[in-house]
Amino acid sequence: MSDVADRWVGTRYPRKEDAALLTGNARFIDDMEPVPGIRHAAILRSPHPHARIVSIDTSKADELAGVHGVVTGAEIADVINPIPSAIRVPIKFYPIAIDKVRYVGEPVAVVAAEDRYIAEDALELIEIEYDPLPATADPKFGASGDAAILHDDVGSNLVHHRTFRYGDPESAFENADTVVSLDWRYPRYASTPMETYGLVANFERQPDRYTIWSNFQGPFILHALMTGALGVAGNRLRLVTSPHSGGSFGIKQAMFPYMVLLAGCSKVLGCPLKWIEDRLEHLVGSSTASDRADRVEAAFSNDGELVGLRFENLVNVGAYVRAPEPASVYRMHAASNGCYRVQNIFVDNRLVVTNTTPIGLNRGYGGPQFYYALERVMDAGAKELGVDPAEIRRRNFIAPEAFPYNAPAGATYDSGDYETGLNQALDLADYDALKKRRDKARADGKLFGIGMAAGIEPSGSNMAYVTLAQTPEERAKAGGRSGGLGTATVSIDPSGSVTVKTVSTPAGQGHQTVAAQVVADALGLRPDQIDVVTEVDTLTSAWSLASGNYANRFSSVVVGAIAASAEKVARKISLIAAENLEVAPEDIELVGGEARVVGVPEKALPLRRVAAQTHWHPTGLPKELDPGLFETTIMNPPMLDAPDEQDRVASAVTFGYVFDLAAMEIDPKTGEIEIVKYVSVHDVGNVLNELVVEGQIYGGFAHGLGGAMLEELVYDAGANPQSGTFADYLCITAPEIPELTIGHFNTPSPHNSLGAKGMGDGSSMLAPTAVANAAADALGTFEIELPLTLNKIWAQANGQDYVRAGAARAKVGDGPHEDQGAGGGLTGGGNVELSATPEEVWKLLLDPDTLASVVPGCESLEQQGEDKFIAQVTIGVAGIKGTYDAEIELRDMVENTNVRLVGKASGALGFGNGEGLVSLKPLGDGRTMLSYSYQANVGGKVAAVGQRMLGTVTRLLIGQFFRGFERRLKSDGDQIGFLSRLFGRRR
């Protein structure tokens, strides 16, 4: 890299951030001890998806040595208010359960201790009695009248419903030549940043104020919600972000309830608290993208013109409507036409609460789901009309000369050329050759498919778009909302060094580098001569509601503020230099670290000397100049107005464009998908840094592909989460990523002084759809459900019903079997031949001493009354060993013939309930056939962490039980041999 570039912006300048990160010198939140006397917090979380809290006893935990204190929901409710919501609905959202838990992972109590180890020990000593309630994770069932109500004050699980119409959708559909529709499900997944949530919260007296250091990403509109919950003025809640954040992708927006929770605990306990979320907590209790159960309809004319769209969205928001939800269903709303000219659009948005983790920002925020509807229904239309999928898109694209384009639902698309992007993608993919390859593969009996998707990428959000969740009347009553302020400061200190403050809280997006490039261009310096501070301190930074890192706002909005501040500094320096050099200010240029006279390079002053003068000799400055060099710009993109009465809103500042094309071959023998071609073409406006842009494109692609192929946060039918570790939640890794061909073209944005557009979501929004379209093309069906796991695709390729991932079909036969079927829980059964008569077996089966000696891991077992046993059992599943208190009742006893066992068990690691049927049949010759079947539900940590093992462990335990039982039968009968006993073998 040369010392002087004509322009740094647009180059492939390597990142300034890297050196600290590569050498272990970068500081993240868990590396910080910003105050002395910190105690470490651990959070007890609900193992139940839905239950009333009957009682909480923290006395044993309180007594544990090293424990500073335990805080329950009731105590928190005394010191904070419910966290305000973006919609008007009578839900009291506290960051901790008060009297009811509504999802597995919901905080129930907080322990503070000397260290995290002791805090976690204490969690196990907290005794809670729950009264479990029916639960569901399914949005459709949750919205039906049959599901248990989560929030009694609401009286329904449907917490939001609004409809919107633009143009005349009814006539469009009535007069259309063809209408196609898709009912679709979108899975729940999350971007799972490598660094989890972390914070240090401190409450101080005199004056009463909170300080929270964290890796929170914003938006800082949530600061207002936090002050509301904590009941303090804005300047009494100081938020400080860490210098580095280990990824976020939107997820770290949703840590704000934890910030409130730990702040409240700090007040109750009187000490600063550090809480670092662990991975299991993150996977069950942080935040995810929304899963949806939606319907989309598209109306076409015979020549392939898209004339109408109808979206019916049913969004699973999780157990609470955590702000800024329901924004995920409104983020794309103003651009509901996608890349197309269609004017007639109907949207029906319903939000349902279920017993799942609340949803929030996640890369693409609402985009993946939106395009899954729009871009799949475009393919369905193409198929119905016999038009090539590329051609049907081409026919409907907004023309390049139509920009700026006012979309029917209010977005103003700044610039674009969608057909050029499509053509480039088809060229890069060699579309015609690809289609021939498909023909040949199909002729050879193979499954081959091509899929594509086109999308715009709204960036730099209008903070008011979420108010679409309110009716125009409600909005009018609440007062106006609009805007999305970007702020930045550029300063030069007395030593002449340049510092930029961006309050943009990046988590790896290279903001320091790009900001330095922008300022270097303005001041004639090199990027390495400019230091950039990206963190926020709400007491000392110039920040506003929109500050933070989300909605691709850095390159769409923040860079504009940086450039404007840099220009102000440059202007001031030019004025001072002009006076010193006795020329007109217009004749000064800032180049190579100097302010010099244009065309007379020897007539120059070092920039640092000119800058220093503003501090060291302010009275010598030109009269019209203020002293100092500290220029802050607060800019509001003027197009970000309030929503109008027709529910139209200019939702974003810039609209990038992505066109993705995927081709795949499916091996019907295994269900394996090979992506043989993937092309992604991007219009991000003017590129600020090629290396950073390229990194965002690759990263967004990996997220989209992960969602398409592997990643799903699975809940069982009882709403117990099954994806508690990175061995269960399968993040995409290097070997699973096919070669990506990237194409670029640029339509500079007129909405940004640098011509840049926001980018970063990219293919995270489109890859799921492009891949699903390719799979649909290969399999000849639009009945596609992500993620495209092996068993699902195998079943579809072979005309079978598919069973949920991780499930094994029950097989009928002798040995023990298991089935983690869609019906939920564990079911199974088997037959065992025993060497005793039914009478002998019966007697032994009901004998407490026998049971105690043969039940695996049984520590104690006692009979309580005629038909009830109480036992303590220690069992290890997937490396986590725990003791459970079990209660077993015998019902429907028919002596010597059959008995039903109904039981439940609970322990610190989880709980279970189930029932089994045991029946005996004489085989003659003093032998008996014992048949058993069981159905069980398991929840809590053991289910989230060990679900892969549960079936196997159950089988193993049952096997152990009957081996022991048979042994016991024999020893009662013909005195089993010593060696046989020792080795525990039947023969």
């Binding site: 280990g246 990996a702 290097a734």
Partner: protein
């Protein structure tokens, strides 16, 4: 054999990046927590604490190891290498670190230390790996930012390819 009570701390002495360190650990203290919070070596990061993500990988007695799956007491007297020891003597980036910087092989940088340590050992054993070998080796690490392509390029560049 030395027996200590569960909450009893004992002195652990080990070598990290050629320098002697000592600190106190209870028997259950994870090596990651010991390195970070007892020795102040914050460069090693914790991503999952169950041995899947690879962020905490360091080199222990010559083997790339998940430090979240080791107890500190198991490492008494051992030789450790962590990310803090990679830079060349004057603190400048080594060839691998330079290649990461030039290729955009890191974004948030949280997983990077573990990847660098794995790759360091990998290239010591296999100085000219194929792209496929690099990709397979990386399967032991989760990176959520980069999509891996730029990491693969950086490793190939560092190996002179």
């Amino acid at each position: 054999m030395l027996r200590v009570k569960p909450d009893q701390k004992q002195r652990i002495e080990l070598t990290v990046n050629g320098r002697k360190y000592s600190g106190y650990a209870t028997p259950r203290l994870l090596l990651t927590d010991f390195l970070r919070h007892e020795l102040g070596l914050y460069g090693t990061h914790v991503g999952c604490e169950h041995g899947v993500c690879g962020a905490c990988t360091i080199v222990i007695d010559g083997a790339a190891t998940r430090s979240c799956l080791r107890y500190a007491v198991q490492c008494d007297g051992l030789e450790l290498r962590t990310v803090e020891g990679l830079a060349v003597e004057d603190g400048a980036l080594n060839d691998l670190q330079k290649a990461f910087n030039e290729n955009g092989a890191l974004q948030c940088g949280f997983c990077t230390a573990g990847i660098l340590m794995s790759v360091t050992r990998f290239l010591e054993e296999n100085p000219k790996p194929t792209r496929k070998e690099v990709t397979e080796m990386l399967s032991g690490h989760i990176c959520r930012c980069t999509g891996y392509e730029q990491i693969i390029r950086a490793i190939l560049q560092a190996s002179g390819q």
